[in-house]
């Protein structure tokens, strides 16, 4: 992993080198100004040291040109830093559309991660090199923060909402995963490792799982489809079979714009779907009655993520209708 002693952390993501470049720029600018100030203070202190107890130098009022210089110059440099940092921040907050979707649930004091193919992990994350990976994260209890120093990536994991972040690993190896938001007694043990693998090995790992077969679960959308039946979501949200449709169809919903009763419209993302399951009255879809019960306390965070995976899955278009008919 890390060498015994280092001044800079490893660079293992596409973002890392870009963050480091800004870091070096800031070190250079700060180093220049700090050195300038130190040298001037030392030089003046020595050159103009008091030579006699009664010495009294001429007063100097100030100098407008100097004041302007040391106002405008730092301002200009600060704006460069701002623009540079903002640009990076935007890159870090927008995942590419071809990113792999992984779900992360944090709780005191562990990380639970599920891959799209169904593989589950605790306090470990295996990812392929060269593949953007988007993380959709939530917490079961307090606020945590998902931090991978080698990727220069960090995002808080907040109960009651989804946060997202992404990265693209560039170098195979093992890296630290830390919880970076104080979360209670074993905060410093809420750590794990990120294993970056060549794509071929990653495929292999997904299939046979290095011996830990118990973690080879079903794909989240399959589990979600089962929940959809078990929780009787299907009764109202199933395909319209001639009768009165009680709830809006969820087919192809994900990513679409939804018209609400209030006249507003929202994009159907993870957060919206989650809210609609737990607090159905918050955003009523135009044309439907407020009859859906809340599922607060009945579906856990992982279940919610599985339902969302199911709703966003491409197979969703045909299957539920068939199953509904079969049940009826």
């Amino acid at each position: 992993m890390q060498p015994e002693f280092a001044l800079f952390p490893e660079k293992a993501s596409t973002l890392a080198a870009r963050v480091d470049a800004l870091y070096y720029f800031l070190i250079a600018v700060s180093g220049f100004f700090a050195t300038l100030i130190f040298l001037l203070v030392i030089y003046f202190a020595v050159k103009y040291r008091r030579r006699s107890a009664t010495e009294q130098p001429q007063p100097i009022e100030g100098d407008l040109r100097l004041e302007l210089l040391w106002t405008i110059l730092p301002f200009g440099l600060a704006m460069i830093m701002f623009g540079w940092g903002a640009n990076l921040y935007f890159s870090a907050s927008r995942a590419p559309s071809d990113a792999l979707n992984l779900y992360v649930v944090g709780k005191q004091w562990m990380w639970k991660i599920q891959h799209p193919e169904g593989r589950r992990e605790i306090n470990e994350l295996h990812v392929p090199v060269g593949q953007p990976v988007k993380l959709t994260m939530t917490s079961e209890d307090v606020i945590h923060s998902f931090f991978i120093p080698a990727f220069r990536m960090k995002m808080d994991v907040v109960p009651g909402r989804y946060t997202t972040t992404w990265f693209e690993a560039t170098k195979a190896g093992e890296y630290h995963l830390f919880c970076a938001e104080y979360c209670g007694t074993k905060h410093s043990q809420m750590i794990g490792r990120i294993v970056v693998m060549e794509p071929v090995q990653y495929e292999q790992w997904l299939k046979n799982g290095n011996g830990t077969a118990s973690m080879l679960g079903e794909a989240p959308e399959v589990a979600g489809a089962r929940l959809f039946q078990e929780q009787r979501c299907v009764t109202c949200h199933g395909a319209d079979v001639g009768g009165v449709k009680l709830g809006p169809s969820l087919i192809g919903l994900f990513g679409k714009t939804v018209q609400l009763q209030s006249g507003e419209s929202v994009t159907a993302d993870e957060g919206y779907i989650r809210e609609s399951i737990l607090n159905p009255m918050a955003k009523l879809v135009a044309g439907y009655q407020p009859i859906m019960p809340t599922y607060q306390g009945q579906i856990d965070e992982e279940g919610l993520l599985q339902l969302i995976a199911y709703i966003r899955s491409p197979g969703k278009t045909a299957e539920p209708a068939g199953e509904t008919r079969a049940e009826q």
């Binding site: 963050v19 203070v41 007063p59």
Partner: protein, 548 residues
């Protein structure tokens, strides 16, 4: 008790032995605990915050001892979490926030503007009692098992999950806040209404400008902290859903409310410190300050802008990306007035008559450490870079450079500078210089390695850490032992000087400023007759200066 002191003016300018002053005007516990003299109240604060400083420092020593090894081998995780929580709470609320305003400000604001006392002397005493009461609650919380939320009380951990004394601590901090509000109110009214005739705003020492700006923050910011703590208590005690999503609340709302106070609170600590430095640099270079109005308005700019940068603590909190942009650009803007101050102090030295007494050594130390602290703030204001260093030791190093390297260095420099005026005694110069040097070295060794640790990715508030971070942690702990020793040295010689120190003259540094124009220690009523402001501040000039 204050009228008697008027007679003292006959003694000026050469005090004779039994001259009456604020320390010997009367004796006994009651005369101190019921005093309304701002100078005595300043000393009450000095004593109480010093106790809290050493208590907070003791917790820091335990933290650094634990972090010498990667494993958690000295204390349990639970204890460790309580140690850093109590360290933060005590140092911030019970030492740093009252330090310069309540000790030096209390002592000097009336003197510098030519007033007999603050506008509301009894309110001033009440501030101290409120502070002590808040302190007692917090100490009780520590004694009855401690609190482990971090000084930031982040929800829903603090409201739902923590099993420690959150309520008792929150009550303590809530109460102490009122002490701060009352002190700020007192200063504002005093500075507005009690300036000596002729002492216009632009003739005031910069110390007064800084205290005015600080007072604004105290009275506008502290109530928000109080409200936030009440909301925490409501949720924790009565399960009213405000912050915990399980009760229908929003955990990030807490962070907005908390930082709305707690970021400006940083300026409560650093603004007065900055203009202690203005006083020291002018005196020990015998020069008028360079760019008076730029420094003065920088204080006001920092106080105002400081209220609009709180979101830079929340760049990875799930706050909107656009909110992040606004908070980032404002955070860069608030750095500019600080830069202006540093450049002006440096320019003040130019063609001056610089001497190296201890207060000036602290001022040099302040400029160096505050420059590093301020510049590393730019790293944290840069959005993309903050994502990486947020919540790591980089942040810990940054704010210690500001609060310890900045605020405490200035506080110590100020206490040395005005010690003769406070006590009538000189401290031993040789020991004091040695102490300043040891503190400077110890400080840098403690906190510089933490910048590197932070960029390497070591999160703060970690009881255990991966072994590759050990070397830097050992360096930091070694520095802390030097720093701790450094702080003990002034403690010892200050106490020593009370009895054995050389008797101080009225103006041992040949400083300008009204506080130096009457004997040391001051008579109770400060001035035998109301002084008249006829000149600019820092009017160090070759001609024979006129004494007011």
């Amino acid at each position: 008790m204050s009228t008697a002191a008027i007679e003292a003016h006959d003694d000026f300018p050469t005090p004779t032995a039994p001259r009456e002053h604020y320390l010997n005007v009367n004796y006994g516990v009651k005369s101190w605990l019921l005093t309304t003299d701002h100078k005595r109240i300043a000393l009450l604060y000095l004593t109480s915050i010093t106790l809290f400083f050493f208590l907070g420092g003791f917790f820091a020593v335990l933290i650094r001892l634990e972090l010498m090894t990667p494993a958690g081998d000295l204390v349990q995780s639970e204890t460790y979490n309580k140690l850093f929580t109590m360290h933060g709470l005590i140092m911030i609320f019970f030492f740093l926030i009252p330090s310069i305003p309540a000790v030096l400000g209390n002592f000097l604001v009336p003197m510098m503007i030519g007033a007999r006392d603050l506008a509301f002397p009894r309110l001033n005493l009440l501030s101290w009692y409120i502070y002590v009461l808040g302190g007692l609650f917090t100490l009780c919380a520590a004694v009855f098992g401690g609190v482990d939320t971090g000084w930031t009380f982040y929800t829903p951990y603090s409201t739902t999950y923590a099993n420690s004394n959150v309520m008792l601590t929150a009550v303590g901090v809530f109460i102490t806040g009122f002490s701060s509000i009352l002190t700020g109110l007192n200063f504002i009214v005093t500075i507005h209404t009690m300036r000596a005739p002729g002492l216009t705003w632009f003739r005031l020492p910069l110390f007064i400008w800084a205290h005015y700006a600080t007072s604004l923050i105290m009275i506008l910011g502290t109530p928000v902290l109080a409200i936030t703590l009440v909301l925490v208590a409501l949720e924790r005690g009565l399960h009213i859903g405000i912050f915990d999503p399980a009760l229908g609340g929003d955990p990030v709302l807490f962070q907005h409310l908390f930082w709305f106070y707690s970021h400006p609170a940083v300026y409560i600590m650093i603004l007065p410190a900055m203009d202690v430095i203005s006083e020291l640099i002018t005196c020990f270079s015998r020069k008028r300050v360079f760019g008076y109005s730029f420094i003065a308005f920088s204080s006001v700019a920092i106080a105002v802008l400081g209220f609009f940068v709180w979101g830079h603590h929340m760049f990875v909190s799930s706050q909107s990306v656009y909110a992040g942009l606004v908070f980032s650009i404002l955070s860069f803007l608030v750095a500019i007035p600080s830069a202006i101050k540093v450049f002006n102090w440096t320019a003040t030295l130019y063609k001056g008559s610089v001497s190296y007494e201890t207060p000036m050594l602290y001022a040099f130390g302040f400029i160096g450490l505050f420059t590093i602290g301020g510049l590393t703030g730019l790293f944290l204001a840069s959005l993309g870079l903050d994502v990486h260093v947020h919540g790591t030791y980089f942040v810990v190093a940054h704010f210690h450079y500001i609060m310890v390297g900045g605020a405490i260095m200035a506080y110590l420099g100020g206490v040395h500078f005005w010690w003769p005026k406070m006590t009538g005694r000189m401290y031993p110069e040789g020991w004091a210089r040695l102490g300043a040097l040891i503190i400077f070295i110890g400080f840098n060794l403690t906190f510089f390695p933490q910048f590197i640790l932070g960029y390497l990715g070591m999160p703060r508030r970690y009881h255990m850490y991966p072994p590759e971070f050990q070397i830097l942690n050992v360096l930091s702990s070694a520095g802390a032992s030097i720093l701790g020793l450094g702080y003990l040295i002034p403690m010892v010689y200050f106490l020593w000087s009370l009895r054995y120190g050389a008797v101080a003259s009225a103006n041992p540094w040949q400083a300008k400023g009204l506080e130096w124009q009457t004997p040391s220690p001051r008579p109770t009523g400060n001035f035998p007759e109301t002084p008249i402001g006829t000149e600019e501040a820092y009017n160090y000039a070759p001609q024979e200066a006129e004494v007011v």
